[in-house]
């Protein structure tokens, strides 16, 4: 068996409460590694034939939580969560950092496949090979802090009972959902450690639809052995050493960008992307720093420690705790709502953490609602009496609660920006879509393209198989460090991208793969075949879509219409995106990656990669 793998996966049928071990062949593992790659393979094999009919929030969807061979070996461990996405109706590989994937591997499992739907709220407990589906009715409805507290307590009690006199038990690791996921809010995340989230894709809602509140894991074994331990440690240390030389993320996390991306790059969402520039000194990193109770907070084996623990100890927002907030939350729950104070941003971020929402998707829909209010499309009455003015932290907090409770307009907004826009267009006989900043049903990450100064390219959100996901950018050249094909490697590894940002780190990943698994996977193999299998399958699934929404590349391989309008202020005022350039970038990308002029993966390309079944379904898309 290849190194780095525990060698088996858990399959849990929540309907029948049946639990069994399953295996994948070495060949499949070599082709897809784990995480996003393997998830794509499993989803396609099981649901591909009737993809369009599968309701992402129905019991027929499957939910995957996969590690990869590098998880625990590479610095910075992550878990990949996937399934048919209730946001894009395609496949999203959504990752969350933390100790959970390491515990799972030490327990002897490379991942978990959930099928069906539990009759009542449950959580899964994995203690080495003892796997139990447990009642979760007492934590259903509870927020992150209460949920985790109960899970840690119950987990440790169960451990102490099963192995008495062993000494004090370290806590099991956990991933869970908040009330948002329980209520099938499509902008709900799978959450861990209070402030960590797998947000993109909306898998919190998928967990909710399965009545699955949480998963806890404790593994008492060692991490599955590497093929060559010495070399694996060498490669991991080489990556760590490079990361240690770069102190930016370590010192500030991504939290210095809340000011920077706006002021310097003009690429930050301001008031639902009406602007991308601001020069609010009240929002610079040093204004957040005084709230940090802890500067270095890292996940398993991580030298980067991008997390900073923010705590508000006095004033109206007293008691709010979150990490950083990181840049995406600073932008989407800050500047995008006209909020330019550290306290306000920390408070809103802590709130969405507690309720189990994705900061990006939730901030996207909040900004969207606020612009509709500003334009008079949504009235105060529509908003249940809330005067949703830019910068009003309490007003936005109230709307967040309405969304989670699915009260009044909250029920519409809980569907995410794209679906809400369709509904509001109908309700109000307007074109609300022109205020929506989304790609394929997924709110776009907080990095704009109008100024041309930030990293995304013209093709980035137009062609990404994960829609607006800024951590999966379509990019030319295809083997660029920022390309979706590169990220698919990290998401299949499964490792934290932040450990591979600095120059030179990525060069070590091939050696690390070889040392851990024993496989010599070359960049040529990855970019020429493996990554393409993943991306093409994701693309076909995305275009098949359904059952409620489908994407036509002619219409939907595009940027939000707003971005064709010029920036209004700042050093890049007047800059807009040229439609011709988007069309060109799109064509060039299709060509480079092997899609036809309609954006459908070509038959010969799919067959070259052995994806005959995908090709059969793609035929219908070629029309």
């Amino acid at each position: 068996m290849p190194g780095g793998y525990a060698g088996k996966f858990l399959e849990v049928d929540l309907t029948s409460r049946n639990v069994r071990d399953i295996k994948f062949s070495d060949e499949v593992l070599r082709q897809y590694l784990g995480g996003r790659g393997l998830a794509t393979k499993v989803l396609w094999d099981r649901l591909g034939a009737r993809w369009e009919e599968v309701d992402p929030l129905g019991p027929e969807n499957i939910l995957l939580m996969f590690t990869g061979p590098l998880t625990g070996y590479a610095p910075g461990a992550r878990l990949c969560v996937s399934g048919k996405s209730p946001q894009s109706n395609g496949i999203v590989g959504s990752t969350i950092a933390g100790e959970f994937p390491v515990e799972l591997k030490c327990a002897g499992y490379d991942g978990i496949i959930f099928t069906g739907k539990a009759e009542n709220p449950v959580y899964l407990s994995v203690f080495d090979s003892d796997v139990e589906i447990k009642d979760a009715s007492h934590i259903w409805g509870k927020d992150a802090k209460e949920t985790l507290k109960v899970l840690v307590k119950e987990g440790r009690e169960a451990l102490a009972k099963s192995r008495p006199r062993r000494g004090v038990w370290k806590e099991p690791a956990a991933v869970y959902i908040g009330p948002a996921g329980e209520r099938l809010v499509r902008v709900a995340a799978v959450v861990g450690k209070w402030a960590h989230a797998a947000g993109y894709g909306g898998y919190g809602a998928v967990m909710g639809s399965k009545n699955l509140k949480a998963v806890i894991a404790k593994g008492t074994g060692p991490l599955p052995e590497a093929a060559d331990m010495e070399k694996a440690v060498e490669a991991a240390e080489a990556i760590s050493r490079i990361n240690l030389r770069y102190t930016h993320l370590r010192h500030w996390g991504t939290g210095y960008l809340g000011y920077d991306v706006g002021a310097r790059l003009s690429a930050e969402p301001v008031k639902n992307w009406q602007e991308e520039w601001h020069d609010e000194k009240s929002y610079s990193a040093d204004k957040f720093e005084p709230f940090w109770a802890k500067r270095f907070w890292g996940d398993f084996g991580c030298p980067v420690t991008c997390l900073k623990l923010a705590v508000i100890r006095s004033g109206p927002f007293k008691g709010a705790i979150t990490d950083n907030p990181d840049y995406e939350n600073q932008a989407y729950l800050g500047t995008n709502l006209g909020v330019f104070t550290a306290e306000g941003n920390i408070y809103l971020t802590a709130l969405i953490d507690d309720l189990g929402l994705c900061g990006i998707q939730c901030g996207n829909v909040l900004g969207f609602a606020a612009e509709l209010y500003e334009k008079g499309i949504l009235t105060r009455e529509d908003l249940g009496g809330i005067d949703l003015k830019w910068g009003d932290v309490e007003a936005f907090a109230s709307l967040v609660r309405m969304i989670v409770e699915r009260r009044e307009i909250g029920d519409v907004l809980a569907e995410g920006t794209y679906r809400a826009a369709l509904k509001i267009s109908e309700m109000k006989s307007v074109d609300a879509l022109k205020y929506a900043v989304v790609a394929k049903g997924i709110g776009i990450g907080a990095h704009g393209i109008r100024s041309g100064e930030d990293y995304p390219h013209h093709e980035t959100y137009v062609c990404s198989v994960q829609g607006g996901d800024h951590t999966s950018p379509a990019y030319i050249p295809l083997d660029d460090d920022l390309s979706e094909l590169t990220v698919a490697l990290y998401d299949s590894g499964v490792v934290c991208w932040f450990n591979f940002f600095e120059e030179g780190t990525k060069d070590h990943i091939w050696g690390l793969i070889k040392a851990v698994t024993g496989w010599e996977i070359t960049p040529e193999e990855w970019y020429g075949t493996s990554a393409r299998r993943i991306i093409h399958t994701q693309r076909v699934a995305l275009l098949l879509g359904g059952p409620d929404i489908r994407w036509d590349p002619k219409t939907h391989d595009d940027i939000p219409s707003k971005w064709y309008k010029p920036l209004k202020a700042g050093p890049y005022a007047g800059k807009a995106v040229d439609r011709k350039i988007i069309e060109e970038a799109k064509r060039e990308y299709y060509e480079a990656i092997g899609w036809d002029e309609n954006g459908v993966p070509k038959s010969e390309e799919l067959r070259r990669l052995g994806l005959e079944e995908v090709d059969k379904k793609a035929e219908a898309l070629r029309g």
Partner: protein, 148 residues
């Protein structure tokens, strides 16, 4: 890990507890001056290293009875996850690997010092729950009480 030659969190002589997010608590033997664990062992499995003064576990003699855990004011020892003996930090024979890793990682949270006769190290032997509570209150203020 130096002792095991593997990555094995549950067999580490320095276990890092995270009973509450953000409150990571490294837990290990502090070398009490009166070594209650050694006294409590009915099998003569524990001794004190003449060179480092660390507690040495004789794996052959240890019966995994757990009495040393009860005797330790910090509940520090625990039974190895795969074998039947107590795990206690032995200072890696005088060259602690955790200190090296910490300084290579640029954290410098650990530093090797000579043991002083003037300190009562035993006061640092606390349970993970006790330390978590103290740190959580320091970090989170009143909320710290609620989340523990």
């Amino acid at each position: 890990m130096w002792h095991e030659g593997k990555i094995w969190p549950e067999a580490s002589r320095v276990r890092v507890f995270m009973l509450v997010p953000g409150v990571e608590v490294p837990h290990l033997c502090v070398q009490c001056h009166d070594y209650p664990c050694v006294k409590a062992c009915p099998s003569e499995a524990l001794s004190i290293s003449p060179e480092t003064e660390a507690v040495i576990v004789d794996r052959e003699k240890c019966t995994a009875c757990g009495l040393c855990i009860e005797a330790c004011p910090g509940d520090v020892p625990y039974i190895h996850p795969a074998e039947k003996y107590a795990v206690i930090c032995d200072l890696c024979g005088g060259d602690p690997q955790c200190v090296k890793a910490c300084s290579e990682g640029g954290w410098d949270a650990l530093k090797l010092l000579k043991k002083s006769e003037n300190y009562t190290y035993k006061v640092y032997a606390k349970t993970p729950e006790e330390i978590t509570r103290e740190v959580a209150v320091q970090l989170y203020g009143e909320v710290g009480e609620e989340v523990v």
